[in-house]
């Protein structure tokens, strides 16, 4: 009986340790993205200032330093970078605020999102300059008020989930490209992405403003939504779930069986088995 009692004492200890571990892990995983002051839509730049000739000139200077090597003088394009003549403010704003430009590596390589290299003022200047090169799309005005969350969800699942996944976690495309996670995209960037269709993404210019605003609202909701079930596991579906089930769930259970199975075995060998308390057991 004594060894059995000892075993039962082990249970709460292991339970406590396990619970503490899981809590420690889960609190570390729920750090939320902080909102960016009062620029909730993510404009970064002042739309009124984009026509300012002073900004265009400052932008041209920056462009000569950081962009001509690929996009050529006046943005006419080179073998390592496309023409920007009709790229427009929307495209420049998207590529610069998502940190995709300046690009590194070969032109075939996907331009990934990274922290912007330029300050907000510099981005304003560069956008003003690229916009002045020809006529492209202006930076769109997001109006979440005209959007409809549920309709946005339907549209999102029908048109975006195939690449970005229903949960917005992103996914692989062929040949080393991927549709990025939409975790960090700001409302303006989402709107712009749909207008310009960056990289392998198609443009969704045929959508009405209301539809686009609805999708923007839905993606915002996906970003804000906390995970009622606990740790999100990256919202990547059955693959991480399977790994957790096998490594933590099954691994933990096997460890439990090992510890429990081991204890008594050792006690037996050490000759600590108690004698003659069978009556108590009956």
């Amino acid at each position: 009986m004594k060894s059995a009692t000892r075993l039962l004492l082990l249970v709460p200890v292991v339970l406590g340790l396990g619970a503490a571990l899981v809590v420690a892990v889960s609190t570390g995983a729920t750090a939320a993205a902080a909102p960016e002051g009062d620029d909730e839509l993510g404009y970064v730049v002042d739309l009124e200032d984009l026509d300012d000739p002073g900004n265009v000139a400052a932008g041209e200077a920056l462009f000569r330093l950081g962009c001509v090597s690929c996009h050529g003088p006046g943005g006419v394009g080179t073998p390592t970078g496309p023409s920007l003549v009709n790229a427009g403010a929307a495209s420049a704003h998207f590529y610069l605020t998502t940190g995709r430009m300046p690009h590194h590596g070969s032109p075939q390589e996907q331009a990934a999102r990274k922290p912007p290299v330029y300050s907000p003022e510099e981005i304003e200047d560069l956008v003003a300059y690229v916009a002045s090169l020809g006529d492209g799309l202006p930076i769109p005005e997001v109006d979440l008020g005209t959007g409809h969350l549920q309709e946005g969800g339907d549209l999102y699942r029908a048109h975006c989930a195939a690449c970005h996944s229903a949960a917005g976690a992103g996914g692989a495309l062929s040949f080393g490209q991927n549709a990025p996670s939409l975790e960090e995209a700001t409302p303006v960037q989402i709107y712009e992405a749909m207008l310009i269709g960056p990289g392998q993404m198609p443009a969704f210019g045929a959508f009405t403003e209301e539809e686009i605003n609805s999708i923007v609202a839905y993606i915002g909701e996906l970003q804000r939504l906390n995970d009622p079930g606990g740790m999100s596991l990256g919202r990547l579906g059955p693959i991480p779930e399977g790994f957790v089930a096998i490594v933590i769930g099954t691994g933990g259970a096997i460890l439990a069986a090992f510890l429990v199975g081991r204890r008594v075995h050792d006690a037996d060998e050490a000759g600590q088995e108690p004698t003659s308390d069978r009556e108590a057991g009956r």
Binding site: S3, A4, F175, G176, P240, G242, G249, T250, G261, E273
Partner: protein, 487 residues
């Protein structure tokens, strides 16, 4: 209380109750026998128990879910408390899954424990199977229990798939469509099979109802009956044991069920329950509200099956797009990876005890287990089989791996195709060499046949007779909770 009692001083109520039942049922001798049963004490013998306990958790949480789940394809407009889907048209099945997640008390917790427990149940079953395989516990007289095990494994995989297909969210619909395409790829009977299972074309109106009956009644009943038979056989044939001092082919050395083994079982049950509850409460699984209602024209990236189907998905991805016409039948691409592969897999698995007996010409009874190293060929074959399915499993995860580690899916496919051919023989060869080496170090000069601890070779008749001696010892030794029992 015991004032008027004629028996000794005070007889506790519990004992009097027990006697009352015993006088009518004669249960005491059965109970005493059951409680005195000896169970060998190696920890790996608890692996089967892990599967059993997780199965019990699956069943318990499943009962709770059936109170609230509404398996109907009738269209409704969602009015529950999950805002992003309010006003969206969906089937009652999906709506009730959302209600379970957001509006039923403890519903999400139960859903999650159920799903985690199902995944862990199948994983522990496979680990248990590996224990049986690598120690040779499937040999005569336990071939029948091996077959029951294989049947449970197959049925459990199917039931798991049917389970997550019930919810009628985008992910489950995607999985069902693939299953439908696989069913119709079967030559001759395929279309008939598909319409039987799916109730006509996909997605048919009866599909969810049909799946529901299969999932909560049909398969669980069969699985539970098989578990009963499985355990009854273990009890009847008695458990195998590793060789060791005092252990022979004809006895069982270990602990009595009461109290030691029962305490162990309880501890393992509580720990398994704790792990599954912790997962269910702290880690999100199958967040169906994010996937949206099933719409046949849509698909999401990262649409994968649960892990125990992952190897089939991997095979489907790696298989080159061949369509072969033979004997007037067309064999569409999904046939090979999705019908032929599992068919061959489970047939070979089921037949293994018989194949091995034929191959080794060893048809004797075996109650003493092999150490894996002392059967290098079997162990090597097992490891190379594991390597094969592990590669397929990872191939099924290729797109998520590619996105997570920023590499190319096409490159991963190429790598996995090569690995699928290279990894099994390498794993087998390395295992074989390791086993031989370990045996050599265990006992220089000994043959691979003898195990390190067994004092006598199983074939040595004289030695066996000497070892049988413990049989003559009283089976019920009141001085000890440890025990020796005769088979």
């Amino acid at each position: 209380m015991g004032a008027g009692s004629t028996v000794h001083k005070a007889t506790p109520l519990s004992r009097r109750t027990a006697r009352w039942f015993d006088a009518r049922l004669g249960a005491a001798s059965f109970a005493r026998k059951a409680l005195d049963k000896v169970f060998p004490d190696h920890w790996s013998f608890l692996l089967g128990e892990l599967a059993l306990w997780s199965l019990i958790i699956v069943l318990a949480t499943g009962v709770y879910l059936t109170f609230f789940f509404d398996a109907s394809t009738e269209e409704v407009v969602y009015q529950g408390s999950y805002v992003p889907l309010q006003g969206v048209e969906m089937t009652k099945a999906y709506a009730s899954a959302l209600d379970l997640s957001f509006d039923v008390r403890a519903g999400l917790m139960m859903r999650q424990i159920h799903h985690w427990a199902a995944n862990v149940y199948l994983a522990t079953t496979v680990v248990h199977l590996m224990r049986i395989y690598f120690t040779g516990a499937f040999r005569r007289p336990r071939e029948l229990n091996w077959l029951i095990g294989v049947a449970m494994l197959i049925l459990s995989i199917v039931n798991g798939f049917v389970g997550y297909s019930l919810l009628d969210d985008q992910l489950s619909g995607t999985g069902l469509r693939i299953a439908y395409n696989i069913a119709i790829s079967v030559p001759v009977g395929g279309t008939w099979l598909a319409s039987l299972f799916f109730g006509g074309d996909f997605p048919g109106p009866d599909l969810i109802e049909r799946l529901f009956v299969i999932h909560i009644l049909l398969l669980p009943a069969v699985i539970v009956a098989l578990v009963g038979a499985h355990l009854a056989l273990v009890a009847r044939q008695r458990h195998t044991q590793f060789p060791g001092p005092g252990r022979s082919e004809r006895n069982v050395v270990g602990e009595r069920v009461w109290p030691t083994f029962a305490a162990k079982g309880l501890a393992v049950f509580l720990l398994t329950t704790a792990i599954l509850s912790a997962l269910g409460g702290l880690a999100q699984i199958n967040p169906v509200w994010l996937y949206g209602p099933y719409r046949p024209a849509e698909v999401s990236s990262a649409s994968q099956p649960d892990w125990y189907m992952g190897w089939l998905d991997g095979a489907l991805r790696l298989w080159p797009g061949w369509e072969i016409r033979a004997f007037g039948f067309e064999l569409p691409t999904p046939f090979y990876p999705s019908v032929l592969l599992p068919g061959v897999t489970f047939t070979l698995l089921a037949l293994w005890p018989f194949l091995e007996a034929r191959f080794t010409k060893d048809r004797r009874e075996h109650n003493l287990l092999d150490r894996p190293r002392s059967r290098p060929l079997r162990t090597a074959f097992g490891m190379s089989t594991l390597a094969f399915y592990t590669v397929l499993f990872f191939a099924g995860a290729s797109d998520v791996l590619a996105a997570t580690f920023q590499t190319s899916v096409n490159g991963l496919f190429r790598t996995f195709r090569i690995l699928l051919l290279v990894a099994p023989p390498v794993a087998g060869f390395v295992t074989y060499r390791l086993c031989r080496e370990m045996v050599r170090r265990d006992r220089p000069g000994a043959s691979a046949e003898a195990t390190a601890v067994a004092p006598a070779a199983p074939d040595d008749g004289a030695a066996r007779r000497r070892e049988v001696a413990p049989e003559d010892a009283p089976e019920h030794d009141p001085a000890s909770t440890a025990g020796v029992a005769r088979r």
